[in-house]
């Protein structure tokens, strides 16, 4: 009997059944994929870090190094199992040419190493420790995808020719979030190219027991050993390795939750419409003594079938797409050892979706209890009591056309019914507006204020080269004689040590120079004006727990100097941790210099940029607008793509939910539609009434969605941007798209869908629905 009932029901509503099945399958697929990916990712990371023997503690250091002192420390510390110091040859990207392609425009800090002897091995794609010969170069795995380089191609590093012998996996620097990348060369070749770059040291430790890591960290810090650079620990390496694929998995999980919600809505609206259609029959079944559970089974059967088919289909799809999504994980980290466990977890994910659907349908069907058999048989429709709003009455209405009035009135009288549709519209508006506002914000020129730089035209970066101060002076001399440049300044970044409250020392990058020439926006306070003032970036201020007016101690030439915090500003560059000061420091440990200039005629910027680029090949010259877009071009592009995708997804959800909701509403309201028709209202009157309901709900939805996007959405986006170093964040909104085009697009979709979805209202017969 159930099979016949299911077959009959399915043949009557093929399209909606198909849509629901597709959503169930998609949800099942996504859940299963997430489970498979999570297990594989964690397995692959463990394998990689195990094979590579990733250090438990690593201190990067630039500058002089006392290896004897370090070796003594390692020997004396009972937690240390193994210890080594690796050299990392940091080279200007312009000196690295892979095949035909120069890495000059690459944003990574590329460097060269030799294979380590004890641990922290660089592995080939089979997971084996690479044994590199003279003349061979192993390239980080990222460049396999990002460049056209192939094994056997030539590479020129600092003028020396190499052959690309393969690609390497680096358990430390594999992640895109790690800003450094290690190339592998032989010890002889390393010596040959050593003069073309600057040496950094990787001071690495493996501990006997990882649980003693924090104890070891404290010991290292208090021993006052080399620490001019970031410290990275084993858990952080693990996080870095898992984060980009982890984000992908999180996004898939989020989407699957969204898809499940849509599947639930499809089920809810179709089921409610079906209950309305069958109202009298349900009454009869109750009247002749069928148990509620028996009646429920009839309806549950169809959705059990849909859930089963969808889940099986979803699982099959997840197996099909698994390879595609695992490709990245396999490429970067290798195979995971627990693929059987992954498949089992995938099946658990599918079962979760299956049972969630059954439980949900069962929940919706609980309303059978409320159906009065007598009422159902007599009226054939549910006799819900509506809240009649006293103020909004037809006999006082002069403003709206009667059909529009009836539409609005219906929404006000049945608020609970429309709440689902409203929620979907609010979410859709939110999904459309937030990425778009974010895109507008990061692509607008005013985004510069979050980068801690002033309003100038040309930026000249001098870094990773020798004699920075002489080279900077050379540029400044030219600028001084250049009449097209109205003003310029040089800002030099150097590393200093600051003393924290517990007495330990930390490095701080301070940009020295005259900050009044191209002032930046300060979220608190003002620019440093005197020698004993310093301005901190928001992240630095936060981390150091400093406010405007507080003092910080900086060590200069071995002496403690107290500086007062004059201001706090946003900076999302250089990891968000910078500082600005005006004091003079004659030491030569310059990290980089930036020369900023403003032109008398902006139209000559490009000309000037190429003129200076030709003249000063050691420097990177950029048009400031291009600098902003270049720095964030991949982010801007991704957010742009995401915002377009978001519009499509939100509109599809809106259309689907509106369609199903309107179909349900027509089924529910067929009695009042018949009454209207009997009283002389035309089919187009009825359509206008439904359209008014839909437009009214969508206007409220859009308004709430926009408010939410500009409050919660802004706060969320702000939280992300703040974590990169901005101290305050506000959307720059494009009013035309945010307040006109997007709402119009949503209203039009809702309107057209409503007209299509309520076309069935015209077919409702008065005689069949006003039965006595």
């Amino acid at each position: 009997m159930y099979f016949r009932l299911i077959r009959n029901d399915l043949s009557k509503s093929k399209l909606i059944t198909l849509t629901t099945t597709i959503f169930v399958a998609a949800a099942a697929m996504l859940f299963s994929l997430s489970a498979i990916l999570i297990v594989n990712l964690s397995g692959a990371i463990d394998s990689l870090m195990h094979q590579a023997k990733t250090p438990h503690f690593m201190q990067m250091h630039s500058g002089a190094i006392d290896t004897v002192r370090l070796a003594n420390f390692a020997e004396q510390n009972s937690n240390v199992d193994e210890y080594q110091v690796l050299e990392f040859l940091n080279m200007d990207n312009g000196q690295i040419i892979l095949g035909e392609q120069s890495l000059a425009n690459n944003v990574q800090d590329n460097g060269f190493s030799i294979q380590s002897e004890k641990f922290d091995y660089l592995l080939d794609l089979e997971g084996d420790i690479i044994n590199v010969s003279d003349g061979e170069l192993y390239v980080p795995i990222n460049y396999m995808k990002d460049t056209a380089i192939n094994v056997g191609d030539k590479a020129i590093i600092g003028g020396k020719e190499f052959t690309v012998a393969g690609f390497l996996r680096d358990s430390q620097m594999n992640s895109m979030l790690s800003s450094s990348k290690r190339f592998l060369v032989s010890p002889n070749d390393y010596v040959a190219i050593k003069d073309h770059g600057s040496t950094e040291y990787l001071i690495e430790f493996r501990l006997k027991d990882l649980s003693s890591l924090s104890e070891f960290e404290t010991a290292y810090a208090s021993a006052g050993l080399e620490a001019n650079g970031p410290t990275i620990t084993y858990p952080l390496f693990k996080t870095l390795n898992s984060i980009s694929d982890g984000i992908m998995i999180a996004v898939i999980l989020l989407i699957s939750v969204l898809v499940v919600a849509i599947a639930f809505m499809c089920i809810r609206f179709t089921l409610l419409a079906k209950i309305e259609d069958d109202y009298r029959e349900i009454g009869v079944m109750k009247a002749i003594g069928l148990r509620l559970s028996d009646i429920k089974k009839i309806y549950l059967a169809k959705y059990t079938a849909i859930a089963a088919v969808g889940s099986i289909f979803g699982f099959a799809l997840s197996l099909l797409f698994k390879g595609l999504l695992l490709e990245n994980i396999r490429l970067y980290m290798g195979e995971s050892e627990n693929s059987l466990f992954a498949a089992a977890l995938g099946i658990i994910g599918i079962l979760l979706v299956f049972f969630a659907i059954i439980a949900y349908v069962s929940g919706v069907l609980r309303r059978f209890r409320k159906i009065s058999a007598a009422e159902a048989i007599r009226f054939g429709t549910s006799q819900e009591r509506n809240a009649v709003t006293k103020r909004f009455s037809l006999n006082r209405n002069k403003l709206f056309n009667t059909n529009i009035f009836l539409g609005i009135k219906d929404v006000l009288a049945r608020k609970r019914l429309y709440a689902t549709m409203l929620t979907v519209l609010v979410i859709s508006a939110f999904i459309i507006i937030v990425p778009q506002n974010l895109y507008n914000t990061i692509s607008s020129t005013s985004f510069i204020k979050y980068m801690g730089i002033g309003n100038y035209d040309i930026r000249i970066d001098i870094q990773q080269t020798d004699h920075i101060s002489q080279k900077s002076a050379e540029v400044l001399k030219s600028m001084n004689n250049d009449i097209s440049i109205t003003k310029y300044t040089i800002l030099t970044t150097k590393t200093f040590k600051t003393k924290t409250e517990d007495g330990s020392e930390e490095n701080i990058k301070i940009e020295l120079g005259d900050h009044s020439i191209f002032p930046i926006e300060y979220t608190e306070g003002r620019a440093p004006a005197t020698e004993n003032e310093i301005a901190l970036s928001a992240l630095n201020a936060d981390e150091m727990g400093k406010k405007v007016g507080d003092d910080i101690t900086v060590v200069m030439k071995g002496k403690d100097i107290t500086l007062t915090v004059s201001g706090i500003y946003s900076d999302i560059t250089n990891g968000g941790k910078t500082a600005k000061a005006v004091f003079t420091d004659t030491s030569e440990n310059i990290m980089w210099s930036v020369i900023c200039a403003k032109l008398s005629d902006k139209s000559h910027i490009d000309e000037k940029v190429s003129e200076y680029a030709d003249r000063f090949t050691f420097a990177k010259i950029s048009n400031i607008d291009e600098f902003v877009t270049q720095t964030f071009s991949s982010t801007i592009k991704s957010v742009g793509k995401a915002s377009i995708a978001a519009i499509f997804i939100a509109l599809i959800i809106t259309v689907l939910v509106t369609l199903l909701f309107m179909k349900m509403l027509v089924a529910k309201d067929r009695y009042s539609i018949a009454v209207m028709k009997a009283l002389g209202f035309t089919n187009s009157d009825i359509t206008i009434q439904f359209a008014s309901r839909a437009v009214f709900v969508s206007i409220i939805g859009i308004v709430l969605g926009t408010l939410l996007a500009n409050s919660l959405g802004e706060a969320l986006a702000g939280a992300v941007i703040t974590s990169f170093g901005a101290s305050s964040f506000s959307f720059s909104v494009n009013p035309l798209s945010a307040f006109v085009l997007c709402p119009l697009m949503m209203v039009c979709s809702v309107l057209i869908t409503t007209i299509i979805g309520t076309s069935g209202a015209g077919k409702i017969k008065i005689s069949e629905n006003i039965k006595e």
């Binding site: 009455s393 009283l679 002389g680 209202f681 035309t682 187009s684 005689s767």
Partner: protein, 252 residues
């Protein structure tokens, strides 16, 4: 006397194939302007279907219906709606009111379709009608806050508000107690005295006895007619007797 409705050989069938059944099987009906008629017949004889066919609320499969000069099967959906709204009034057994609206709003609803600007005038007229049928104090009430009889009176007000040429009533007193039913019939007689034609579908001999012509239906056809003088409030028992006698004769 001018005929407001001419129905000729009306056929209406339900079902398909072997299960197809003519509910109206060539029924012919004429109703004059200002006339008060009743349709009687056993259950399933086609009374309500005939009313739906004559009012254009249902399509017919054969024959024709001319209402006030317009053949209903040849006018479009919009014109048909206009005719129903402006020239016809309806009172059903169950009060067909919209749950979202209060009593007054339900009454003025069809009139507001075209005359929104005259809302004050329409409401005033509705209030007069409500006063006339004895529900003046209920205008702001929700439809669930009044009795069935009061709701039926509100339905009559709604039917009357556009000054229709005819009011169709499908068992209008069927759901009411005797006292309420009598009061409703008094209102119908009063309306008819004002010149509005009425056509009531009923099982009740007491209701039919108030009218001046009773058509008896059987198997989708009008099989007999009984004419009575206009009801003047007297001799109701004698009229009921005549109707009952005819019903016996026709086996209804």
């Amino acid at each position: 006397m001018k005929k407001i409705i001419i129905g000729e050989h009306i056929v209406k069938s339900f079902g398909e194939g072997d299960e197809k059944r003519n509910v109206l099987d060539g029924a012919s009906v004429d109703i004059n302007e200002g006339e008060f008629v009743a349709i009687m017949g056993p259950s399933g004889s086609g009374k309500s279907t005939l009313m739906f066919a004559l009012s254009g609320m249902d399509n017919i499969d054969g024959g024709k219906v001319i209402f006030d000069g317009d053949e209903l099967s040849s006018v479009g959906e919009v014109e048909l709606s206009d005719i129903r709204r402006t020239k016809m009034g309806f009172v059903f057994q169950q009060p067909t009111m919209l749950k979202n609206l209060n009593i007054l709003d339900n009454i003025i609803l069809p009139s507001m379709r075209d005359n929104r600007k005259n809302v004050a005038k329409i409401s005033e007229k509705a209030r007069e009608l409500m006063k006339r049928v004895g529900i003046a104090e209920l205008e702001m009430r929700d439809i669930t806050q009044v009795s069935g009889g009061q709701l039926q009176r509100a339905g009559i007000c709604r039917a009357l508000l556009n000054n229709p040429k005819i009011i169709f009533g499908d068992e209008p007193t069927g759901a009411l107690n005797t006292k309420s039913a009598q009061e409703i019939m008094d209102i119908f007689s009063e309306i008819n005295a004002g010149g509005t034609a009425l056509m009531l579908v009923t099982h009740d001999a007491k209701v039919a006895a108030r009218t001046e012509r009773i058509m008896f239906m059987h198997d989708g056809k009008i099989v007999s007619e009984l004419k009575l003088p206009k009801f003047d409030g007297t001799n109701i028992d004698g009229r009921v007797g005549k109707v009952t006698e005819k019903m016996w004769e026709k086996g209804i």
